[in-house]
């Protein structure tokens, strides 16, 4: 019996009888983070980092959920389960599973750099590593985030001078708050779409702090939009809600924006290359630091990245899952309604 098996419902630990980020209803689910493709509806009980709980409750309703601190251990039928920071969004965790000296780590989604709002990634040594590969190609290399936010500030200022609103599209959980906490609030007022405002309220419950913002309602006067920065989820693009913000410029913040094709297809005025996933160098760094003997590559360029790892002399193989990476951020995920709250 393997410690972790890849089943039709998700990653399963038979000895501990629990699943990690399952995509079908099960009894016991350990959840890496609160994004909808990892934290799904219908589990009898959830175990996750305590910072994820308010958001999961906000999204999934009245669920039975228990919280862990990073590094805290939980025994499940002799299997030791603990969480370590993944740096992806607030509360995001890697799951470490240990039984009779054998250690597995399931990364969930992760990035290595410190985004200022999520507990920074910690490398965990293991025998088997299950890693994501959303951006597992050497063409994906992020520039320093300071540079991206400088571009974003300049863009906002320029639009503001022309009396235009600046609409930035990004996931309502994680990306939106990262932007909110890194943009220069002295440039002008910051307004929020309801989905992001609601995520913020849940994250404030989880202990986070944000600069001053205003929720856009149907009574918000039109002149408030001029020169403001408006953060909205990707699903708002082209909606009637968005038409009311005219005149505006619209930008998308996503790792996919590093490719011209995706940028042009999205048809926004500006693409900012800002991702909460590891880029090529970070993925390689994380794999190396884990010192794992066996690497399982999930969602992303699974075949290519595992072939590359094999060439580096590692024992790697691709695994099929139903996670989406960042695709719905540019309106290309299978689950288009992911962001609709």
């Amino acid at each position: 019996m393997r410690l972790i098996e890849f089943t039709e419902k998700g990653l399963y630990c038979p000895q501990g009888d629990f699943y990690i980020d399952p995509w079908r209803p099960v009894d016991k689910a350990v959840i890496t983070h609160a994004h909808a493709d990892h934290s799904r509806w219908g589990m009898k009980s959830y175990l996750t980092h305590h910072q994820s709980i308010p958001v999961m409750k906000h999204r999934l309703g009245d669920i039975s959920v228990a919280g862990l601190e990073f590094g805290e251990e939980r025994k499940m039928n002799g299997v030791s389960v603990s969480l370590f920071p993944a740096g992806h969004i607030p509360g995001s965790a890697q799951v470490r599973v240990e039984y009779k000296g054998e250690i597995w780590v399931i990364t969930g989604d992760y990035k290595l750099i410190d985004d200022g709002i999520s507990t920074p990634f910690e490398s965990v040594k293991c025998h088997s590593l299950v890693t994501e590969s959303t951006f597992g190609l050497p063409v994906y290399k992020w520039k320093p985030q300071e540079e991206v936010f400088r571009e974003m500030n300049d863009w906002w200022r320029e639009n503001r001078e022309q009396g235009l609103a600046s609409v930035i599209l990004g996931y309502s959980l994680g990306k939106a708050q990262r932007i909110l906490c890194s943009i220069d609030p002295s440039i002008g007022p910051i307004l929020l779409h309801g989905a992001i405002h609601n995520s913020n309220l849940a994250l404030i419950d989880a202990g986070l702090k944000f600069p001053e913002t205003e929720l856009i309602t149907k009574d918000t006067p039109k002149e408030k939009y001029r020169g403001a920065l408006i953060i909205a989820p990707p699903s708002a693009f082209g909606s009637p809600w968005m038409r009311k913000l005219k005149p505006y410029k619209v930008g998308t913040a996503s790792g996919w924006m590093s490719l011209r094709g995706a940028r042009r297809r999205r048809n926004v005025d500006r693409g900012f290359v800002l991702s909460d996933h590891a880029d090529w160098d970070e993925l390689n760094q994380a794999v190396e630091a884990s010192e794992a003997e066996k690497i399982y590559v999930t969602h992303g360029y699974t075949n290519i990245f595992s072939n590359w790892l094999k060439e580096q002399g590692l024992d790697a193989e691709p695994v099929t899952t139903e996670y989406e990476g960042e695709l719905s951020e540019i309106g290309e995920g299978a689950n288009q309604e992911k962001e609709a709250e």
């Binding site: 190609l137 050497p138 290399k141 490719l259 995706a262 290519i304 590359w308």
Partner: protein, 530 residues
């Protein structure tokens, strides 16, 4: 080259025509004449021959980046653009060089006299002194085709604004086969010498497809109707006893068509004629396949001349005895044209006959039958229209017959390029031969973004096998494939080749076994290739 790099970035970053125009004008206002000339040449597709093989670029880029070649290839299939892939995988640099666009172009032109090792040394050191954007532009200078949504019309508008000149004048000056290596910006656009312009064609007036009903055009008697011929658009120029034939792609093709070249001894006056070059024999047009044997062939054998002779079917007169007639009404131009064609009495020059239905209903019936005379539909031209520049709505419309179509099953998918990069958007279709599916066409256009995404998801979930960038998929999805022509082919397994195949729609109502058969396709072939 920073300014040019930034211009390309700015053009790429917006879909708004006015923003593009502003960026171009501000580049022109500050660039040197040499850079301006390259800007015009490169964006209008007049690039010098590729100085370095792309296979070398791949090898060198992989080597410099420390990744295996297969990984670069895989990345290329995702990115959908080699120049961009190479720009992205190369290591970042801190110092950049001050070389101008002209400097880089001169460097690249000089490469052809160098040994491979020297070329490699130059390319690798050039990459090491450029940021990502410049690197992308530099690679594009080598591999070709910017594809950043800048039409010739927009280049003309930017130049007109920069030079404070009329757009038509600029458009005319840009026509013809000038070479950026043998002309200066001043000579080409500011101080043209009339004697050198003997061969210069006028910009073609192009029709839009009819969007509304023909009844919306008003009284049919205000319109001149002709068949829309399925040849290649051409302009025949006779000035000072010299003859020139231009294709719409602004290529001088006089030598390829001796039948048209000899018209210089028949035409009564100096003139410029707009018309269709068609394969034509024994009083009737031949299929496009015949014309195809003539295109791209500079020296034509006697045999081909006999099998596939060409004529010009004239439909407009743009200049007569040195006088520009484009501002005259079409009725007048047509009358003058008829006189010229009649007095030339040449086999290889005929008039595009008017067709005169009494009402739009009759016109519609003629359109339905237009394939029987090997035409693609009807042309509708307002009788008092002037001859405009480029594609314009209002006075000229093409009213094409619906394409032929067949229902087929998708069996292979490949990731696309440009806007469709990283999406499975290019498909191979098959029809049934017994219980085997035989591929017969590839197509990638015709679906909405949303439909394409859903097919993309299908491909990812239903992959049977991978062959490099191509995936074979479960034969499940049925599409209606439209095409403009069909011909026998020995190069294809199906034995047929289609012209302009494209996806008309997804047939959600059909199961794969209900798709058409190879016999169905062959019966269409037999019908149109007598």
């Amino acid at each position: 080259m920073k300014d040019f790099g930034e211009l390309i970035l700015a053009l790429d970053a917006t879909t708004k025509t006015n923003d593009k125009l502003d960026s171009m004008v501000s580049f022109l206002n500050s660039a040197t004449d040499a850079d301006k000339l390259w800007f015009v040449a490169l964006l209008s597709g007049k690039r010098p021959k590729r100085p370095v093989k792309t296979s070398f670029l791949r090898e060198w880029a992989a080597e410099v980046s420390g990744i295996p070649l297969w990984l670069l290839e895989e990345s290329y299939h995702v990115v959908g653009d080699l120049a961009e892939t190479v720009a992205l995988i190369l290591p970042d640099v801190t110092e950049t060089s001050e070389k101008t666009l002209d400097d880089r172009m001169q460097d690249l032109l000089g490469l052809k006299s160098l040994e491979e090792e020297e070329v490699k040394a130059y390319i690798v050191s050039a990459w090491a002194e450029m940021n990502k954007t410049e690197r992308f532009v530099f690679n594009k200078l080598i591999t070709g085709g910017f594809r950043i949504g800048v039409s010739q019309k927009l280049i003309v508008r930017a130049l007109a604004r920069h030079l404070s000149e009329e757009e038509n004048l600029i458009a005319h000056r840009l026509m013809g086969n000038w070479d950026p290596q043998n002309v200066t910006f001043q000579k080409l656009l500011v101080e043209p010498d009339e004697n050198e312009n003997l061969s210069r064609p006028y910009p073609f007036y192009l029709a839009y497809p009819l969007e509304d009903t023909p009844q919306s055009l008003g009284d049919i008697h205000d319109w001149q109707l002709e068949y829309k011929w399925d040849g290649i658009r051409g302009q025949l120029i006779l000035r000072n006893g010299e003859i020139f034939v231009w294709s719409r792609g602004e290529e001088l093709v006089t030598e390829r068509f001796p039948e048209l070249e000899k018209l210089k001894d028949f035409l009564p006056n100096d003139c410029v004629i707009d018309g269709e070059i068609m394969a034509f024999k024994d009083g009737a047009p031949l299929t496009f396949n015949h014309l195809q044997t003539r295109i791209g062939r500079k020296k034509v054998s006697k045999k081909i001349l006999e099998e596939s002779p060409v004529v010009m079917i004239a439909y407009d007169l743009l200049e007569l005895e040195g006088q520009d007639l484009r501002e005259e009404a079409m009725d007048y131009r047509r009358a003058e044209l008829e006189k010229i064609v009649a007095s030339a009495k040449a086999d290889s020059l005929m008039i595009s006959e008017k067709i005169e239905p009494l009402n739009w209903g009759e016109a519609a019936k003629l359109r339905e039958k237009s394939r029987e005379v090997l035409s693609e539909g009807l042309m509708l031209k307002r009788r008092n229209s002037t001859y405009k520049v480029g594609r314009k709505r209002g006075d000229w419309w093409k009213w094409k017959v619906d394409p032929m179509s067949i229902d087929a099953v998708m069996i292979y998918a490949m990731r696309g390029h440009g806007r469709r990069a990283n999406l499975y958007s290019d498909y191979t279709f098959a029809v049934w031969k017994g219980d085997e599916l035989v591929p017969f066409a590839k197509a990638y256009s015709g679906l909405t973004d949303k439909e394409m995404q859903s097919v993309d998801q299908f491909v990812k979930k239903n992959t049977v096998e991978r062959f490099g960038p191509v995936r074979s998929v479960k034969p499940e999805l049925v599409f209606e494939i439209g095409f403009e022509g069909i011909a026998p082919s020995t190069r294809h397994k199906s034995g047929i080749a289609l012209r302009f195949p494209r996806i008309l729609r997804r047939r959600l109502d059909k199961r794969p076994e209900e798709a058409n058969t190879l016999d169905d396709l062959k019966s269409i072939l037999d019908f149109y290739n007598i």
